[in-house]
Amino acid sequence: MKILVCIKQVPDLETRFKLNAAGDWFEEADVAFRMNEYDEFAVEEAVALKGKLGAETDVTILSIGPDRVKETIKKALAMGADRGAHIQDDEPHRKDPAQVAAMIAAYAKEKEFDLVFMGLQSQDRGSAQVGPLVALNLGFNLVTTVVGFEYDSGQVTARRELEGGLKAVVKTRAPAVITCQLGLNKPRYPTLPNIMKAKKKELLTIPAADLAPGDALNIVERAAPPERKGAGVVLEGDAAEVADKLIGMIREKTGLI
């Protein structure tokens, strides 16, 4: 049984982003990076499945980006994955979702993965397209927005979260791509011994160009900070004063009083 988990390193969203000189991305200096939250659920699901199925199940973590993404791969290895594949790409933000999916599929082809887990979307770009396109490129079955997952000898049973409080229970066969919604499981924290063990695990680097991403179908023509809608007033003082001020605001702005 072979499992691939695709993860992304994303900037901490509490960062105040500054535009870069080209106007299509942000300045990376002073930005902290971490694992995309949705992908933590993907790693957990794969590692938990390995726990159930036994040691012959092999979990590979794949991530695309510059050298810094190795740190995020190591975190996933410390959570219990077996090996890492780092696709070296110094400008991943210049790739559109179709190119990212093409690289993942080129890596995964002929490696006979049974399952591919990844987050439903990334927190930074949030296109939610990579999962569906990887499934298409590999000819795998696809189940997106998964909040419940079971696997039994090649049979996948998954709960999909739909709008309006609806959930669909679907069945399909491996090989399949599963995109994970928040809350699918409880991602574990790596323990110190596992962090030490992760340092010795295999982590291969593959140049992006070897995986022939092809041409971009889309381009970011320009990016800019959005105009602020609110006044963004921060109210200060003790609680009673603040409550008083809020009543004033509610009177002035909402017509509820």
Binding site: R16, P97, P132, T145, E161, V170, K253
Partner: protein, 350 residues
């Protein structure tokens, strides 16, 4: 006649209920169509669709292509993909633009349609526009030149700290998915008329590799977040289920109010899903939105950022919600919420 092809809207329906995004897509499509002097064609797929095609005409579609077959009773990627592509390929030329909702349906389906036509797709847009583009060949010198009347797909990035304009002018249909609550719906007009064109699609065995076993509705109580004028919402910062007592208490001071929640509070089991505001919950637009102990992650923000006035109370001064709340209070919600309720009641009584 315009030199451009029509605009296609993929209607978003679950269990024969048109999702609100459909009307917003039709509204945006009509605005774009007016700029290009073209028409809006809706595609609707499902089974026993009844009056839905007519409803689409009343809400902005100039014509509706209907695939009504038992195989489409429940959404699956492969069956809906085949149906949508069959309809689009029945047109003499690909549409200029095709748009879907950034819903579980649209986000699952749109990449597969885009891929079939080898065209780009911009996800989760909040604005759509038409404009020209000059490609100077930074990325692709072979495509250098001016492209007229392209789809400008505009969307937030990085938890909304940046807004990006994304184009894919090389090939049609130029595609985008749009977020619920961002575009302005077309005003319903029951006197509108238009062609309703049934299309029969032939499926293949390989289209049924993913089967829907059942679709279940989680129990939902009577509250109606969508129609509430005031929403008081609680998040993870409440610290526990009992925190919602304070939220409910403050909400009860306002008329036509409802209690909302962030995803994290729902996932923690503190309050049922029906209260969830955000990407996979409800999109709301109340006059007043009070967020108690909500950090303001993108997932929540997309569901409430169009509220009239947003007040946020959070202990963490770095919480992203302070970047878009109109009024922010860095402090203890357990101190402020009861005082606010008291003051509000006093003010109303006087």
């Amino acid at each position: 006649m315009s030199q451009y092809e029509d605009i296609v809207v993929i209607a978003d329906q679950i269990q024969n209920d048109l999702r609100p995004i459909t009307f917003e897509l039709l509204g945006a499509a009509q605005t774009l169509a007016a700029k290009l002097n073209v028409k809006v064609r809706a595609i609707v797929m499902g089974h026993n669709l009844g009056s839905i095609p007519q409803e689409l005409i009343h809400n902005g579609a100039d014509s509706v292509y209907v695939v009504d077959q038992p195989e489409l009773a429940e959404y699956t990627t492969l069956t809906y993909r085949r149906a949508a592509i069959s309809v689009i390929e029945s047109f003499p030329r690909p549409p200029h633009i095709a748009i879907c909702g950034a819903t579980t349906l649209g986000r699952d389906l749109a990449p597969r349609i885009a891929s079939h036509f080898e065209t780009g797709l911009t996800a989760d847009c909040t604005e759509l526009d038409i404009g020209d583009y000059e490609h100077k060949g930074r990325a692709d010198p072979s495509k250098m030149g001016t492209y007229n009347n392209c789809l400008y797909a505009i969307r937030p990035s990085f938890g909304e700290s940046l807004k990006a304009r994304i184009l894919g002018p090389w090939k049609n249909p130029q595609m985008a998915t749009a977020r619920t609550g961002a575009l302005i719906p077309f005003p319903t007009d029951t006197t509108r008329t238009g062609d309703i064109i049934p299309i029969k699609v032939k499926f293949e065995d390989s289209d049924f590799r993913v089967k829907v076993i059942e679709t279940v509705r989680e129990v939902s109580d009577a509250l109606d977040l969508i129609r509430a004028k005031v929403i008081v919402s609680g998040g993870f910062g409440l610290g526990g289920a009992e925190g919602f007592e304070v939220v409910k208490d403050l909400a009860s001071a306002f008329k036509e109010s409802a209690v909302g929640s962030s995803r994290k509070a729902v996932d923690s089991g503190w309050i049922p899903y029906s209260h969830q505001v955000g990407q996979t919950g409800k999109t709301v637009r109340p006059v007043l939105y009070i967020a108690l102990g909500i950090s303001g992650a993108i997932q929540h923000r997309v569901g409430m950022s169009n509220s009239g006035t947003i007040i946020a109370v959070n202990k963490d001064e770095k919480a992203p919600i302070f970047q878009f709340a109109h009024y922010g209070i860095v402090g203890d919600l357990y101190e402020i919420a009861p005082l606010l309720k008291e003051q509000f009641k006093k003010t109303m009584a006087s």
